[in-house]
């Protein structure tokens, strides 16, 4: 059952991505991008990554869309329909990269394999010991905030960096 839901959501995801990329009206593109983010978060929820789904829903689908919309208020909604001279280059780069990733994924463990390397090395400790070592039942929280808390500090720093950057760039007193 959840296989079917996942397949349906993935199809919807691709459709929304195409709309976001192709739409001639930028407002439509941004709305489609927001819907894309939301469907993505549903997919991750179905896959059991609830923490990521939660974040994608509030940060990816929510905050990103709000920021895109706030920016669009100050810009033109139209885009010129002319084709780019670079589209063949782009197609070659995209196909080349896609082909390379496809080739590489032939080495991936079968999807959902509980004996794959990521499932058996490093990560089991987090599940087995999160309660006894950090008193935190949610292993994602304990990995994020404690085992790999250094990453999360830097991640918060990234957010602040973006805030300072926008603060510097969009000062109304500057030209």
């Amino acid at each position: 059952m959840s296989e079917l839901i996942l397949a349906g959501l993935l199809a919807l995801l691709v459709a929304l991505a195409v709309v976001a990329v192709r739409a001639p009206d930028l407002l439509l593109a941004v709305i489609a991008l927001g819907a894309y983010g939301f469907v993505m978060s549903l997919i991750w929820a179905v896959m059991g990554a609830l923490d990521v789904a939660f974040t994608e829903a509030v940060v990816g689908a929510g905050a990103t869309t709000v920021l895109f919309l706030a920016a669009l208020l100050r810009m033109s909604r139209r885009r010129s329909p002319a084709a780019s001279p670079l589209r063949w280059v782009a197609l070659a780069v995209a196909l080349g990269t896609g082909g390379a990733v496809l080739g590489v994924t032939s080495g991936l463990p079968r999807w959902g394999d509980p004996t794959s390397a990521p499932a058996t090395h490093v990560s089991p400790r987090y599940l087995v010991r999160t309660l006894s070592e950090t008193a935190t039942p949610n292993a994602v929280t304990s990995v994020l905030a404690d085992y790999r808390g250094y990453d999360t500090l830097v991640e918060t720093t990234v957010i602040l960096t973006a805030g300072l950057g926008c603060w510097l760039l969009l000062n109304p007193r500057r030209r």
């Binding site: 939660f54 935190t136 404690d146 808390g149 500090l153 603060w167 109304p172």
Partner: protein, 145 residues
Amino acid sequence: MIERHASVVVQTFVRVLTPLAQLFALYVLAFGHYSPGGGFQAGVILGATYILLALALGRDTLDRKVNQPVCVALGAAGVLLYVLTGVAGMAGGGTFLDYSRLPLPVPPVRARYFGILFIETGVTLGVAATLIILFCRLGEQESGR
């Protein structure tokens, strides 16, 4: 320019919803230990309540409530709270971010629990302040230039 929404229903609803959403943000922050959620999500929700205020009651309301330079400084203070929690672990004889060495009157494992809470609070503060700044600046009107 983002104007005050015309409908009284919307305005009243947002006024009622805002404190509730902020309370929910605190819940998401504190309950991240047990269920999905944590500092980032809480920070975004907290920041979003201010954006909601701006959308429903107009930019003026937001500008009255938010002093932008102080908001930037609060964002930095949030990250600083994170760093200081880590430095407190160093002061207790551990490495940076070793919460088990925090100078708290609890056993080491319990200290890790509180350490996570401290840093998540810092994250919430940093993310919420930054999101408000991003929205204020991205949505600012042209007339100031």
